[in-house]
Structures are given as C-alpha cells and as structure tokens.
Amino acid sequence: MKIGVLALQGAVGEHIQMLEKAGAQAVSVKLPRELEGLDGLVMPGGESTTISKLMHQYDFMEPVRHMGQAGVPLFGTCAGLILLAGHIEGLDQAHLGLLEITVRRNAFGRQRDSFEAELDISGVAEGYKAVFIRAPSITETSPHVDVLATVADQAVMVRQGHLLGAAFHPELTEDARLHRYFVEMVRESKATPTD
C-alpha cells in the first residue's frame, strides 16, 4: 500500500513519519506524475493560499479531483481540509470541491487564538489531543457527510465515504490513531474497488 503526501509546502515530513508509523509506505508528491499508482493521498497543513496557488500552477487540481471522484481515499488536514471543501466562505470558487461541506478559514481567529484541545472522535479515538493552528471550521455539511468531532460547538472533523477531513493537525502529535484510521480506509478501498 502506497500513500502520497502532497509536498508543495507545509508539514510534509511529519505526515510521512506518521503514515509509516501506521504501517503504510509513504512518499512525497511534488509533481502530478508522482500521483500515479497511489492508493491514497494526504494533503497536509500549511498555508492554503500558497498550496492552492502551487497546485494550479503545476496542474494538480484535475488529477487530484479525478482521484477523489474515482474513489481513492483522500485525507486533508487544516489547509488540506480547505482544499477538499465544496464551499469556502468568502471565496467564489472552491479548490477541489470534493467534500460536501462549507468551511470558514481562520474560524477561531489569528495565531494568538490557536489552541490545543482534547477531542472525542466518533468511532476513531477518545481523548485525542488535537492542535489547532489558525484553523478552519466546518460550518455546513450535506446529509452525506458524518461529523466525527466538534470543539467549542464547531465541527472540526468529517468523513464522507472515502474522504476524510480534519481542521486540526494530527501530524503535530505523536498519536498515530488518526493516521491508522486513514490507512485502514485505504486498505478497505483497495479490497473493494469502486470502479
């Protein structure tokens, strides 16, 4: 099983380490051709404005959207969640537009409002220490989307079939439970091809 980590900018190395800890082979992806043969893709935290510009510049949008539409599991954290979202408050256009949610960028405020909190993530992990950095929140979800965790009454983790999104940074802690959950999603998707 080979999982890619989009490596245009942000916390790439941490995701690779965590995926390896969770038992997957992980590779960094800097060019669209490196998407070939991947069983799953993680879009890391970083600056969503920067990552989305570089994705457009290097023609990543179409191939990643195709992967998502073809049922390849995708996991977006923080900036990655914003990339996956169907609607972004204040912007006319979504980036990948795969997850049927609306996100609000910097929903909790500027860096001084960034925080750690303990989450109970439904069906995944209890007492999970999550790090929120200038984090987005999920303000709307379609009926196809399951909200897995909330903090301060805001949805911060969702799953829609093979798509997983978190407003926080599972790559910044030592706790590999979320990465194991995603690796399991990839394993299941390989066992039951959708197309």
Partner: protein, 300 residues
C-alpha cells in the same frame, strides 16, 4: 464560556512551534504596505513581514530603527489572509507586547532593528504570540529557544543581497548539530558550557539530531538560486527581506523564489524560472561594511 471551560489551551509550545511547522517549504516576504503584501500573497508567500522599511533602506537611512508604525502593520493585516509577522527591537518587550496586542501572528525579535537592550533578550516564554529569532550558531539558537523562541532563522547579513553570511551561519549550525549528535552523552555538559547553550536543549539536539524548532534562511537571499542553495544546506524555508521589492520586477522575483524553494532539487526548472527576471537587488560586498554596520553582531 471561557477557554478553560471549553478545554482550549492557547499559547502552548506545541501551538507556537506548530505555527512555524506550517510555514515549512515556504517563503516569507518583507513588505512595507498593503499593495506589496498583496503582490507577495499573490505570488504564493506563506507569510509576510510588515515593516516600515526593508533592511536595505534601514541600512541606508542609518540612525535608530524601531518597530513599525502600527498603522502600517494594520494595513498589511487587513490586506491579506496569510499570516502577518512584524519586528520588535532586541530586548524591547513593550514593542513586542504592542505587536501581540495587535494580533500579529509571529514576532521577530530582530537584529535588523537597533537593539533596545545591550544585555538581555525578551523573555519570550511569557507571550501567547510566538517568536522567531536570528542566530549564527547552535549556542545562540539554543539560548533563544531557551528564552521561548518557537522558530529560528539564520542572521546572515540583512539588506546586503549577499548570501555569504547566511551560508556561513547555516553551515556552522549544521556542522555543530552533527557534532553534538555524535558526542557521547557525558561530553554534553562541557559542550553546553562551551556553546553557552541550555543543557536540556542540547540534550534534545543530541537525541534528535536537529533543532527543537524550525530553522529558516534569512539575511542576504536575492535570487531563486540563493533560496534553493539555503534549502540544500538544510533550511526549512526562506525569508526574503529586500530581495523582492528592491529587485527590478518584484512580482516576477517573488513568484520565482517561491517556486525555487518548493522545487529546490529540480535544477532544470530553476534555470527556466530564472530567465528574464530583470536585475536582482543591488548587492553589498561584506568586507566593505564597517564592523559597526554589521547587523549580525547584534544579539547576545
């Protein structure tokens, strides 16, 4: 409800250092107004540093360089959605408190400004806002981290467009890290004494083989090749001070430096993106600088 009732812990080391982790592989650009901030954001900068003057102009102006006018910083904060950093003078904890009160995302306790304290740096651990500090070697970096810095950058020699000092500082840092990593544990206390570094942090470097925080390049980056060079030497990302807006075509330079930082190993690509950029910022030969004009000497 209060943060505590909601179980939110703000300003922790993990939150402050994590913010810098999110900047990795990116370029942070100096800007002096909203228009420049937008050019930087449009080019793909991961953050901007709001200043009244870029280092080359500070150098040219002479006199005492202080924290920027809050109005300039606010203007930049209102113009972009990426994080905004700003500089306080070394030791000037009130300037730092003002920046924190304004909601600046990262504070640079910077040798580019005239130091306000000739003995002590700011006790950065007391702040919710994270700090970045310059350093020339491992001891200096660990002293700053000991005081609470969450991000380190090379000092280089700001405002010169000359990469030689940043290279020197990064090579020194990496060489010292390798040495400490390979030492036996019983040699570390004497090494801590020699470097003037907190023992516990040196122990962490010994165990992990890296600094406990992110380390960026700064002080002399003028071209896409300069940025890529610093990435090859082990930097996590790049600050560009005067290099963007003192060049002939800032938007082109900004975009090219961002791309060269992302694809620092792809030399064919850097060739392509380095074509027809126009003149880089004018450079300064370091040996022509009076010792008293060397900003890197500031900091203790």
């Amino acid at each position: 409800m209060t943060d505590q009732q909601q179980g939110l812990a703000k300003g922790t080391d993990r939150v402050k250092r994590g913010m810098a982790e999110m900047q990795k592989g990116g370029v942070i650009m100096d800007v002096v107004n909203a228009e420049q901030a937008k050019i930087a954001e449009e080019a793909g900068a991961v953050a901007v540093m709001a200043l009244e003057r870029v280092p080359a102009d500070i150098r040219a102006a002479g006199g005492v360089a202080r924290m920027a006018d809050p109005r300039v910083i606010e203007e930049v904060m209102n113009a972009v959605t990426i994080p905004v950093m700003a500089k306080a003078r070394i030791g000037h904890f009130v300037e730092a408190r003002l920046l924190e009160a304004m909601g600046v995302d990262y504070i640079d306790e910077s040798e580019v400004l005239t130091p306000a304290d000739d003995k002590y740096h700011i006790d950065k651990s007391q702040f919710t806002a994270p700090f970045v500090c310059g350093s020339r070697d491992l001891g200096e970096a660990l002293r700053r981290i000991g005081e609470g810095a969450s991000m380190i950058r090379t000092k280089g020699e700001p405002g010169t467009g000359n990469i030689v000092e940043a290279v020197k500082h990064m090579r020194q840092m990496m060489s010292q890290i390798r040495k400490v990593q390979n030492m036996s544990r019983d040699e570390l206390m004497a090494e801590a004494k020699k470097l003037g570094a907190p023992y516990e942090l040196l122990l962490e470097v010994h165990e992990k083989g890296r600094l406990p925080v992110v380390n960026f390049a700064a002080g002399g980056v003028a071209t896409p090749a300069d940025a890529a060079l610093m990435m090859h030497l082990g930097c996590d990302g790049v600050f560009v001070g005067s290099g963007i807006f003192k060049s002939e075509s800032p938007a082109k330079y900004a975009r090219a430096i961002v791309e060269a930082t992302t694809h620092y190993e792809d030399f064919g690509r850097i060739v392509q993106l380095s074509k027809d950029l126009g003149d880089a910022m004018p450079g300064v030969e370091i040996s022509t600088l009076e010792p008293s004009h060397r900003m890197q000497e500031r900091g203790w």
